[in-house]
């Protein structure tokens, strides 16, 4: 008799979990088949997934450090090396102690004694109607503004939860809008006029082709929802709290202000805050300072360029990968796509318009003279140009994956193994791309100039047909050895006229219209953005939605998607909702003592977001953060030069597999390459260089000017710059020992400290 059998029956025999009586439930579900079908969206089981350990930071290697010492001149020696190593160990130890689970918890887990966590039941709204909800309803009715149903539910559920006992959740930071503020009559629901953050469709003056079509074919991107930002954020809080309660976990305590500040800078604009930015935030005493910081990062002219650059980099990687357009003979002009993306993010283009333009893009890939009036320069074409080979099958798969969150690539050859998607579905989607033509423009040598246009498509069997050979332009595919036919049909079953003449039906325009209006679009982007800010989306991976992979919080995903669409597909608004939620402001510490040891997605559990999930910075975030931490960003050249330097630095981590699906991998996460680059790379060498004029030399000058207080200030500045916190007492002690070992040479001591800080786990992790 094996242990599992014995344990299961022992639990029952001892009075633990008992077999349920499901008779009534099953009968009720059978009586209403729709209900039964909907039940299947419940989080039936946590999907065991293998996630990379977040804390895969670099490890100190004496040999590497010795090399750095050797370049430093006469002050080198074994003692400073040991001191630097001990400082690094102290930093790592401090961080590990404060963020890892306790020894007892590890032992308990190894012994398999961690109490199983009940999976959250499918959560329906928790309308705990408090008095205040009625107040809001009255206020709204008095101002003739009827709140949406969600608004009412949000208010009531949050207010109800907020009155519960002394749970750690109540100690959450104030940055999240308090109930009073949410309910105040001063805060009016968003109106159409207020929400014109981005230029309305049709007015956007882009040099891209297809905008005119976009203006006439897209649904309105203006806000139609009466829900305020505060209400949506409150709804997020209420749903997550409900799931914590269902699962029997407690949320971690709130993160410190500097931790929150660091993570919001990293997630919104892709870099850590400077010391000045951090101090400005910390000394601000206003209650809504968190909201103000998020708004500043998203809307202030000072940060707009950085914001656009960060999201451009992210989306370039999503659309064409880290290696797309890097080969000399590639038809893709990477900078062209980045220009399109940057312009989109600078103007906060509505997401559905953004997608519409990418899917329907026509024109020339580069700004060259040969770009004609029929095919003007349009950077957006570079997305599809990367994926047009092999009968546009990569374009089909990529479009479905990125914009619809559907991984259909395997259905190119067979039915989906885990759900009902058929092979025909892939080819029906593929038929939308078959009018697209990639034309190489004859120019003298490099660079390659390519046009993406649409031409009449007569179907794959047209040569043998008679009559109007364009009337039914079909696509063939092989299924179980038999040739089958497919016509353009969207994933929701919407079929369009199969005529292959562009003048009759422009298939890509139709596809762009269908994609931009689909439910999948809004769910996919909400899931992707949630995953960006929390480290885990509602599904894993974020771009694999479907019946085979139910989301961890289906009701939250659905509501956020609806609100996102209702607010004009405004990405910045979505960012505000997420970053100002309670869950985003929780500490990354977790464990049995905090009551949420079970919320560990690295073990395969569905995420509950009861603490902040620690994760490593991306290569792009690290690059920008290194520049900021060392002050190098102030002296860099123009945008193109910055981008070129950055791409060159990032190149070393990207590997293209050259597969049909343009797969690629990064060697950045916790690899030897990354460790060596951090220890001995040019950027680190420059960062830890105490030469005149450098960041370090300025800090050292302050320190050497006078005595101990100034030294402490310099040390503080280094810690704030790298880790957004001040040093602990033990760390100060190690730093002093280091200074003594360097015979009072402050610059050299600071170089060692700085090097150790930049190579610590705490620096490289978003925590």
């Amino acid at each position: 008799m094996n242990d599992r059998l014995l344990d299961a029956f022992l639990e029952e025999a001892c009075g633990g979990a008992q077999p349920p009586d499901l008779t009534d439930k099953v009968l009720a579900a059978l009586a209403s088949p729709g209900e039964g079908a909907r039940r299947s969206t419940a989080p039936v089981s946590p999907i065991p997934v293998l996630a990379c350990p977040a804390g895969a930071g670099p490890v100190l290697a004496n040999a590497a450090r010795q090399k750095a010492q050797a370049t430093r001149g006469t002050f080198g020696g074994w003692l400073p090396v040991a001191m630097a190593a001990s400082l690094l160990l102290a930093v790592a130890g401090y961080w590990m102690l404060s963020h890892s689970k306790t020894k007892e918890s590890v032992i308990a887990e190894r012994a398999g004694e961690r109490p199983p966590v009940k999976q959250p039941a499918p959560h329906i709204d928790t309308p705990l109607l408090p008095d205040s909800a009625q107040v809001v309803a009255d206020e709204r009715s008095s101002s003739d503004e009827r709140p949406s149903p969600i608004a009412e539910k949000v208010v009531s559920s949050d207010a109800g939860v907020g009155r519960q006992g002394n749970s750690p959740a109540e100690k959450l930071p104030e940055g999240n809008v308090p109930d009073e503020e949410m309910l105040t009559p001063r805060e009016q629901p968003t109106t159409v006029a207020e929400n014109r953050i981005s230029p309305p469709i049709g007015e956007f003056d882009s040099s891209t082709a297809g905008d005119a079509v976009a203006a006439t074919s897209l649904p309105s991107a203006l806000s139609t929802s009466a829900t305020t930002d505060a209400q949506v954020t409150a709804y997020i809080n209420a749903v997550l709290k409900s799931h914590w309660s269902d699962a029997g976990v407690r949320p971690s305590p709130a993160a410190t202000e500097s931790e929150w500040c660091r993570r919001v800078y990293l997630d919104c604009i892709g870099r850590i805050p400077t010391v000045e930015e951090l101090e400005v935030f910390l000394i601000d005493n206003r209650r809504d300072k968190r909201r103000k910081l998020v708004e500043r990062l998203l809307d202030d002219d000072l940060y707009l360029e950085t914001y656009a650059r960060f999201w451009t980099t992210l989306w370039t990687n999503i659309l064409i990968g880290r290696t797309g357009g890097m080969e000399p003979d590639s038809p893709v002009y990477r900078e062209g796509l980045q220009q399109f993306l940057r312009r989109s993010f600078l103007t906060n283009k509505p997401y559905n318009q953004f997608v519409y333009e990418l899917v329907s893009a026509k024109g020339t890939n580069r700004p060259v003279e040969v770009a004609s009036a029929e095919a003007p320069y349009n950077g957006a074409v570079n997305f599809l140009l990367q994926h047009m080979q092999e009968r546009a099958t990569p374009a089909t798969a990529k479009t479905a994956q990125v914009f619809l969150g559907l991984q259909v690539q395997c259905t190119q050859c067979h039915n989906h193994p885990f759900n009902h998607w058929k092979q025909s579905r892939f080819w029906e989607l593929n038929a939308f791309f078959r009018q697209a033509r990639e034309e190489q423009v004859t120019t003298d040598g490099q660079p390659k100039v390519v046009r993406l246009l649409d031409g009449d498509f007569a179907g794959e069997g047209a040569s043998s047909g008679a009559g109007d050979r364009f009337a039914e332009a079909e696509v063939y595919f092989e299924r179980n050895g038999i040739l089958q036919v497919a016509y353009p049909t969207f994933v929701d079953g919407t079929a369009i006229d199969p005529n292959g003449m562009v003048s009759v039906v422009d298939r890509r325009l139709e596809l762009a219209r269908l994609v931009s209006r689909s439910d999948e679009l809004k769910q996919a982007i909400v899931n992707r953005m949630w995953g960006h800010f929390f480290g885990y989306g509602f599904t894993k991976p974020v771009d694999d939605l479907g019946p085979h992979n139910p989301p961890s919080h289906p009701e939250l995903l659905a509501r956020l998607a609806d609100e996102f669409a209702g607010h004009g597909y405004d990405l910045k608004r979505l960012i505000r909702w997420i970053t100002l939620s309670d869950a985003y402001a929780l500490s990354s510490k977790f464990g049995p003592k905090l009551g949420n040891a079970a919320d560990d997605p690295t073990l395969g559990n569905a995420p509950l977001f009861s603490h902040f999930y620690v994760r490593q910075m991306s290569a792009e975030q690290l690059y920008e953060s290194l520049l900021v931490a060392t002050g190098a960003h102030r002296t860099l050249a123009d945008y193109e030069e910055q981008q070129r330097l950055k791409d060159r630095w990032l190149e070393q981590f990207a590997i293209a597999f050259g597969t049909d699906e343009n797969d690629e991998a990064t060697t950045f996460d916790g690899t030897i390459t990354q460790t060596l680059v951090m220890m001995n790379g040019e950027l680190t060498r420059q960062a830890t260089n105490g030469e005149s004029g450098s960041f370090l030399s300025q800090v050292a000058m302050k320190s050497e000017r006078t005595g101990k207080p100034e030294r402490a200030a310099a040390l503080n500045e280094l810690y704030l710059a790298a880790l957004a916190r001040r040093p602990s007492r033990a760390e100060v002690q190690v730093a002093n020992d280091l200074l003594v070992a360097q015979s009072g040479n402050t610059t050299t001591a600071l170089e060692d400290i700085w090097w150790a800080l930049l190579n610590s786990n705490e620096f490289i992790l978003n925590h």
């Binding site: 059998l5 014995l6 001892c14 009586d21 099953v26 012994a111 004694e113 199983p116 885990f418």
Partner: protein, 224 residues
């Protein structure tokens, strides 16, 4: 199972039922005979599920079927490795999956085997097929041997009886561990031992129970 064993025919029938159910599920074809049938064209059209020669869903005593088999399915899922809440969800899914399609309650054994097979498929599918098959096979073998005949009723009774033969302290430790989900530290504190001591108590108690239950069930089946 061995040739000449008196349980041969029942086991064999169970095996054949389960296997044929699996084959039909995989092939997604209507069954012409057997204990249970996968969906047919009527079900797809939303009509009352009915198969030629089989009673419609409403002619079946659905409540009886659910009552009769729910504990077995739930226990079986627990043995496969489901936490209690997940097992409850999957049990419900199993009945819905089976009863919303044409289905024939041929006999208790065959229906139980079919339900378990569907439950197993749902379990594997829910885990995205990442469940180690060897572990599943081991769990299934243990289920078949010790609990397969009566959905574990006999095993449960034997276990309850054997629990009475334990010392008070061992019972308390097991109760804390399995009924209250206490940590080892809490168990140790409650029974006044070190954590290692508590671990030893639990292990010894489980070993005693294992031997006692195996002895009891074996002797009962032999009729001694």
């Amino acid at each position: 199972m061995a040739y000449g064993d008196t349980s041969y025919s029942a086991d064999f029938f169970e095996y054949i039922s389960a296997f044929s159910a699996l084959i039909r599920i995989m092939a997604n074809e209507p069954a012409s005979m057997g204990a249970a049938a996968p969906p047919g064209p009527e079900a797809a059209k939303g009509e009352p599920p009915k198969l030629a020669g089989a009673p419609s869903l409403w002619e079946l005593d659905v409540a009886r079927i659910v009552r009769e088999h729910q504990s077995g399915v739930w226990r079986y899922l627990r043995v496969l490795g489901c936490p209690a809440a997940e097992a409850e969800d999957l049990t419900q899914e199993t009945f819905l999956a089976v009863l919303t399609k044409p289905f024939q309650d041929y006999n208790r054994q065959a229906t139980a085997a079919y339900l378990r097979q569907v439950a197993r498929n749902l379990f594997i599918s829910g885990r995205r097929r990442s469940v180690p098959i060897a572990e599943l096979d081991e769990a299934e073998a243990a289920w078949s041997r010790w609990a397969g005949k009566d959905d574990g009723q006999e095993l449960l009774a034997a276990l309850r009886s054997c629990l009475q033969t334990l010392t008070e302290r061992a019972r308390q430790a097991l109760d804390l561990r399995f009924a209250q989900q206490a940590s080892r530290a809490d168990i140790a504190a409650a029974i006044g031992l070190s954590e290692d001591g508590a671990k030893n108590v639990l292990q010894r108690a489980k070993q005693h129970l294992r031997e006692c239950v195996e002895r009891t069930l074996t002797s009962e089946r032999r009729g001694t």
